[in-house]
Each structure stands twice: as C-alpha cells, then as structure tokens.
C-alpha cells in the first residue's frame, strides 16, 4: 500500500512539475530537436518475420529533413539507392536502366520487406502542417515522463489519419507512437528502444517498428554511426548522381 502511495505521489509531483506547454508547442519542440542542417548516418535495418531475421545496412545522407539519399551497402541490396527530392521518392537499382519514381499506391509498398513503407520515408518536416495536435495526458512510459499527444490529420490523403505519440517531457524526443486509420484500426506502432545524445538533442538510436497488419513481423532500425551538421555536396541529391 505504501508503495502505491509513493508512486502516486511521485506521479502527481511529476505532473505538477511539467511546464505548461500546449500540444502544438510540444510537437514544434519535437520537430526542432530532430532538425539538423545535415546528417550522415550509417545504419542497419533488421527485419524479422515468419522466415527468420535479415539485416541490411545502409549509408544515408540528409540535407534538412526533406532531402535525403539512402544507399544500401549490404550484399543483397548493394548499390540500390533511394532519393527523396522535392517531395518525390526515386529508386535506383543497378540492373534497371531507368529510375523508378514512386507515387500513389506504390508508396505503400514495403521497404525491402520491412515493416516500413516508402510512404514512411516521405513524412512531412513540419508535423503541424499536416496534423492538429491535442494533449491527452502525461504519463511515465519506460521510466520516462512523457506527454501523450493525439494527432488528427488535416488532410484526407495521409497515410496515418490518427497518431498517438508519447513525447519525452525533458528532451522532446519521440518515445513511442501508434498510428491508426480514421476508423480507429491500428496500423503501425513505433517504439524507441535506445536513444543517443547528439548536439544536445536526444535522437532515437534503436527503434522498433511493427506493422500491425502483418503477422509475426517487426523491424528494428539502428543508427550505427551519425555525423550531424557536416557539409554535404549538393550534387549528391540529384537524379544524375543517382544513376552513378
């Protein structure tokens, strides 16, 4: 009983100590904390399904959060590239003579069989441009004080019309997220398993993604190394470069 009382007091203190921010302000801070002028990431995508576990590695270069180039380095996909430029996604395959521009329903295809879709890679820089935010509550999740925010899409053609996010109240980093259809069907869940501090910002180092529409499937994204705010040549993000 004493234990429960202690936890209750702790919870009340923690709520009382949270700064009085609106949902929009929290989301804005979260977006700002993930916003670097440029990044170079070496990472891995580990996908698990009924047939076992497979890991692919990649190097990704990003300019802001709208432009990036991802090149796979693992043997099975070596040389395959994904370019996001001017809000468009282009795929390059070494054996294909033409670039594949993904649009419409093709964006819903899975990225190398993982729980991520290409659509997930084309998310908007400013969350509040697309969603209305509502602060639901604050709670402790995995030992971290979090704001629980519900996002409802302003537009109709959005991959996830409703999202529920757990945002770290101290670092304004994403801790957990659940995506739903407008009718409330659970589509995807994301959970940050490990974080790292870069330039005073906490970013997700290891993230578990589960596509709720797939059975026995999950994907872990892991950052193996990261450089931020480093100069990157602009020609890297061109269609001409993609072919090379």
């Amino acid at each position: 009983m004493k234990r429960y009382l202690f936890l209750l007091i702790l919870l009340l203190i923690s709520i009382a100590s949270l700064p009085a921010l609106s949902a929009d302000e929290i989301i804005q801070k979260m977006d700002e904390h993930q916003d670097f002028s440029s990044t170079i990431i070496k990472g891995s995508i580990t996908r698990r399904d009924r047939f076992g576990e497979l890991t692919s590695t990649y190097t990704a270069w990003a300019q802001g959060s709208d432009t990036f180039l991802l090149e796979f380095t693992s043997p099975a996909e070596r040389g395959q590239k994904i370019l996001r430029l001017d809000n468009q996604l282009y795929l390059f395959y070494p054996s294909a003579q033409e670039l594949i521009r993904l649009q419409g329903s093709a964006l819903r295809q899975s990225l190398i069989g993982s729980d991520l879709s290409y659509e997930d890679m084309s998310s908007h820089k400013n969350t509040l441009d697309v969603y209305d935010a509502k602060l639901l509550s604050s709670e402790i999740f995995n030992g971290r004080q979090c704001y629980v925010i519900e996002l409802s899409s302003k537009k109709r053609n959005v991959a996830y019309p409703i999202q529920k996010m757990w945002v770290d109240a101290t670092h304004y980093s994403l801790v957990k997220s659940e995506a739903f259809t407008a009718s409330g069907r659970h589509l995807k869940s994301i959970e940050v398993e490990k974080t790292m501090m870069i330039n005073n910002s906490v970013i997700a180092q290891k993230t578990l993604v589960i596509d709720q529409l797939k059975k026995n499937s999950s994907t872990t994204l892991e950052i193996l190394s990261i450089e931020v705010d480093v100069p990157i040549e602009a020609h890297l993000f061109t269609l001409q470069n993609l072919r090379w």
Binding site: D49, F51, A76, Q80, E98, Q103
Partner: protein
C-alpha cells in the same frame, strides 16, 4: 418374323418419303451432335490437363517441402537445389523435366506499375518439356544469360509494348529484398491460356536466378513421367530420400486437381444436358411418326391384322429408320470431328475475359467408344419411343383408331 413383314416395313418406310426423310434427319442430327459434343468435351479435358501440366504443375512436381505452406508469400528462399537434376537425368521413369522460377513482378512503365508474373525457364532445355517456341507469335525466344524476355501478346498489347521495346520489372528476391531490372522484349508469345496471355512473361532461367539472388536454386521442377504419376512420385520420393523436398503427382496438388475434376463434372453435365435435348427431339419425332398413322393402323387391324403383327411391323420400320439415321449421324459427326481435330474450334471471342486454364482454340478428340455410344444411344432412345407409342396405338380399339384425327 417373316420376310413379308420385312418387305412390308421397307415399303412403308419408302412410301412416305418426306416423313422418312424428316425422321432420318432428326435422328441423324441427334447422333451427330452427341458425337461432336463428346469429341469437344474430350478435347477440352485433354487441353486443360495439358495446360495444367505444361504451364503450371507438371505431371509430377518437385518443390521445397515448406514452399506450399507459405506459397501466398512467394518465399523464393524456400527453393530446390538444381543439383538434383543430375539424378533426374538418369531416372528412366522421367521422360522430361523443366526447372522453373515463377515470380510475381510489377511492370514499371511511364511511372505506373502493372501486376504480372514472370517465369524463368531454361531456354536450351525447355523445348523437351513444353515447346514455347511453337507459340511464339512474333520475334524469338530470349538468349541464355541475357536480360531478354518474351511477353504474353495480350499483356504487351495492354501496355502498348512490342518487340524491340524495353520494360523495367520490380520483384522481391530470395533474400526478401526488392530488385528491379530492365529487360528487352525480343518476342511475343500467344499462350494457349488466356490468363497467361494477359499477365505472363518468360525470361532466361540463369538471368532470373541472378536477378532474384537464387544462384543454383530453382523454385520448382516440373516432370513428365512414364506411367502412373502417383507411382512415379512415390518412386522419386524414395529415390531422393530428402525430407526437405516434396514430390507431388498432379492428382495430389489439391487446388488445380480439384479444378480438373470440377471441370470434368461440368463438362459431363453440359454433355448430359445436350444428350437429353437431342433425346427429346428423337422421341418427339418418332412418336409423332407413329401417332400420325393411327388411322392407317386402325384400317390394317380392321382388315384382320392382329395387334401383335402391327407392333412387329412398326418396330421393324423403326429399326430400319433408327439404325440408318443414327449410323448416318454418327458417321457424319465423326467426319466433322476428324476435320476439326486438325483445324480446331476457335473460342477466342467466347473466352475473351474469361480467366480459365482452357485454350482459346480447342481441338476435338474422337474416340471409337464415343461413336459407338452415340449410335447405340440414339438407336436405343428412338426404338424405345417407337415401342411406347406403338403400344399406345395398338391398345386403342379399331373404331377409336379409325376415328383418330
């Protein structure tokens, strides 16, 4: 039975030429229709089995034991090692085999994607199994080791593609990753099966294996075997003694075999319907032929001919007419069917848009048993109708028969 009765029956048959001619025509058409129908149905059955075994399942199929369970996910990593082909080469009961990789693919054209299915085949050795070169409608078969394909002619037409064009395909590899490649279209193929024509393309096996990260592996091996398929599959299972492989005769490949069985039932049902239709025509014509002579038969009985003799007379007339009519019909039907065996019957229009494993051109198959059946069946039906109608007529009183209009 006296010679006089035979002579009388023959004279009666030739006396009213128009009536005799109409009866003969009705009986002959019934026999002809049955012969033709059975030949077409037999042709369709053989065609369906050939298409299923040539293009889909083989007479015996070898796959990874786990593949069938997860087939809807197209798990190309659950494959068969090509080295087992060496064993097949030295197995007398295997008459031919085909190593294949069948994979779903998205065709990318002008920023749009279209669903299709690719089959990787060994261009050098496939001809001993299914002769794809015979169904090439334009161009040629792809060269080994090249990024060349032949495409279903309808698929090419739908995508506005032709020989000399290129197309990029997107597929999931055996590593469950994705890959894309650009292929040159070197030929168009008119698959006998409409559904294949609308969505399939063929590519060299070695290139497909490289493209899908399946070097040295195939998705399945289709076999044609000597004798009974079930026995052959059992013998091969014992021979390989490999629990990671499943050797299945086509009768055990549930889905498609069920289709084969179901189609046979449907074909027989259609045949039965037409046989009943033909029978009603024969019964109707034969009975009318007897009933319209009620007055004449009444006169014969008034002159002293006993009912038994009238019965015999009509039966003999019927026998002459029915035997001749059904024989002529069965023979003409056989002749037409034999011609169609070579020319085929074009169902392209009728089957357009129908997703069935039946060819659009059906070649009827004539069996002697079907000719004999058609002849005997028509003979039996018409003779039965004569007996029933004669009995009715002879059971009438003489005065009643004479008053009959």
């Amino acid at each position: 039975m006296s010679k006089t009765m035979w002579m009388l029956a023959l004279r009666n048959v030739t006396r009213n030429k128009r009536r005799t001619f109409l009866s003969l025509i009705a009986i002959a058409i019934a026999a002809l229709s049955i012969v033709l129908l059975l030949a077409v149905v037999e042709g369709m059955k053989i065609d369906l089995k050939k298409n299923l075994t040539d293009y889909y399942i083989g007479e015996v199929r070898i796959r990874n034991a786990q593949y069938n369970r997860y087939e809807r996910y197209h798990p190309l990593h659950l494959s068969v090692d090509q080295s087992i082909v060496e064993t097949l080469k030295h197995t007398p009961l295997v008459t031919s085999y085909s190593q294949r990789v069948t994979f779903p693919s998205l065709l990318y054209k002008e920023e749009k994607t279209y669903s299709s299915v690719g089959i990787g085949i060994d261009m050098d050795k496939e001809s001993s199994y299914a002769d794809f070169s015979s169904i090439i409608s334009k161009g040629r078969l792809p060269n080994v080791g090249s990024f060349e394909i032949v495409m279903g002619s309808q698929l090419a037409q739908n995508l506005n593609l032709d020989v000399g064009d290129t197309i990029t395909t997107l597929s999931t590899t055996a590593n469950r990753a994705s890959n894309a490649a650009t292929w040159s279209i070197v030929g168009l193929v008119s698959f006998p099966v409409g559904s294949m024509n609308n969505s399939y393309f063929l590519a060299p096996l070695d290139t497909v294996q490289h493209f899908l990260s399946m070097e040295g592996k195939v998705q399945e091996i289709l076999l044609k075997v000597e004798g009974d398929e079930i026995v052959a599959a059992q013998e091969l299972t014992t021979l390989f003694h490999n629990p990671s492989l499943v050797v299945e005769p086509f009768q055990h490949i549930q889905q498609l075999y069920e289709l084969l069985e179901l189609s046979e039932k449907i074909y027989y049902l259609i045949s039965l319907f037409f046989v009943i239709l033909a029978s009603t025509v024969v019964i109707n014509t034969t009975m009318m032929m007897v009933f319209e002579r009620t007055q004449e038969l009444g006169t014969l009985r008034a002159l002293g001919l006993r009912p038994q003799k009238v019965h015999t007379l009509l039966s003999l007339e019927g026998l002459i007419l029915n035997t001749t009519g059904s024989l002529i019909g069965a023979l003409i039907g056989t002749l037409i069917a034999l011609v169609l065996t070579h020319t085929g019957i074009d169902f392209t229009e009728a089957l357009s848009g129908v997703d069935m494993e039946v060819s659009s051109i059906i070649y009827p198959v004539v069996y002697l048993k079907h000719i004999v059946f058609s002849w005997l069946f028509t003979l039996l039906i018409s003779t039965g109708a004569i007996i029933i109608s004669t009995r009715k007529v002879t059971h009438k009183g003489i005065t009643e028969s004479l008053r009959y209009v």
